[in-house]
Amino acid sequence: MFITDGGLRSDTYGYFVVGSGPAGVSLALALADAGRRVLILESGGEDQFRNELSNSIGYGHFSGEYWNLHSVRTLGGSSTVWSGWCTTPRELDFDNPSVGVRWPIPRRELMPYWRKAAPLLDHDPAFVDFERPLVPGFLYRPVPVAGPTNVGHRHLARLKSDGGVDVATGCSVVAIDAAESRSAVTGLHCVHHASGARRHVAIGGRQRVVLAAGGIGNARLLLQPPADGGVPIGNESGQAGRYLMEHPHLFRAGECALGAALDQYWPAAHERRGVHALAVDADLAREHGLYGCSIQCSRKTADHPMARFLSRETGRPFFHYGIAVRAEMQPSAGNRVFLTEERDRTGLFRPGVRCVLDARDFLNVEQTLRLLGQTLMRLDQGRVRVNNDRIYKNVAGGGHIMGTTRMGEDASKSVVDPHCRVHGYANFFVAGSSVFPTGGGYANPTLTIVALALRLADRLLGEE
């Protein structure tokens, strides 16, 4: 049911979810499926964006406008600007010495949740983890594409019915109360935009609050100073906002001519439902200190001088592809969401976002491409062209805002524990890519966001 007049009754619900993006909606529906009552608090409306509230100031490789584009306040959250790509992080991505930070949960723990998450995003669970050996050291690992699914609109009928989930639209959470002991959240302060009314939602000991307001929104709420000027609620570790990561996107980073048509590895029934991509295998990555880098090959043609040259020389068919790269970046405490001096009209301090890629992030891409080139040449299976300028001077992002409330076992170095509970709090949790301790390799985060939300739902139900 939609609550549009700002009237909130806190005693009705067992769970309060801040944000209606992929994490918030998936979590709320999973809880409602188990018979629980959930209230989602959403700043925007069904089709109304409220982006002026999330406006950031950008520092480093990406502008404020860039972050604003991907920090969306409306029903469906970031899924309204999602491209529909889904893939899983690999085993090495959970504990890669070259990245230096490991996930506190093993990959196998997420596998059943990825399978459950895929259909919610209109993906086939059989293909989100698809890979085949290509040449020694490299895997064919396509990125499946579907939808893109706006999770808000996909479940709109259920959200509007009396299906266990209510959605308070046009309602922003602007402050959080906690017990003096900092062991539980005791209230949420909300602003109803249409009326301007401020509401206080009391949270009892058996009720749970989950922040699912996106990589910037989650950190921003945990950074807001409380009325007494003390340490912000949920940021006792001082780590909120830090370790922001993106997936560097390097379009036209190169091109290649390959002796094997990549579409032979992808089921014919899935034609046009994936992006051909190659990745180094774990052994080669370890040997060369590499991390996530997806070499995505498109625009296949045999009508290219290099393809024709190799076909002529070898007597075998060759195909030319353009290469785009989507890669991982090193987590760094200096890359972060922080508060500027400026306040928005709800009184919240406006966020600044600093994201500076490391030299290693660029070298990782160049070396991966050159290793592919060396391997293909040695095997006489193809040639690679590396476009230096496109790698080093044309970096873009994917709108993947990760790491700002990172998950970890050590409460002094992370914001949430391995179960996504804010360290020290009995009833306060975070959902979304902000809990990722690394970028998860190059994997687009939406599938893992939903998987972690479903895992959190199981945890919350199990704790009752």
Partner: protein
């Protein structure tokens, strides 16, 4: 010659081993690269950004540009 082991087979096997040794040696040399070189850029020659063998480059001398439209060599 022992039964089941022909002279031709022996010469073939020896030739194969010699060939493998030569190829492996060439690969090792290529991996090392030039003295003072960068391992990531070893084992090939550059042609408009393409990573090619010296033979490729020789054969492509004078050929039209091999880059995608819009990308400067």
């Amino acid at each position: 010659m022992a039964e089941g082991f022909s002279r031709r087979g022996f010469i073939g096997a020896a030739g194969g081993l010699l060939g493998a040794w030569v190829v492996a040696g060439a690969c090792r040399r290529r991996d090392r690269g030039a003295p003072g070189g960068d391992p990531a850029t070893a084992g090939y020659v550059d042609h408009e950004g393409w990573m090619l063998t010296p033979a490729d480059k020789q054969k492509l001398a004078g050929a039209p540009p091999l880059v995608e439209p819009g990308d400067a060599p």
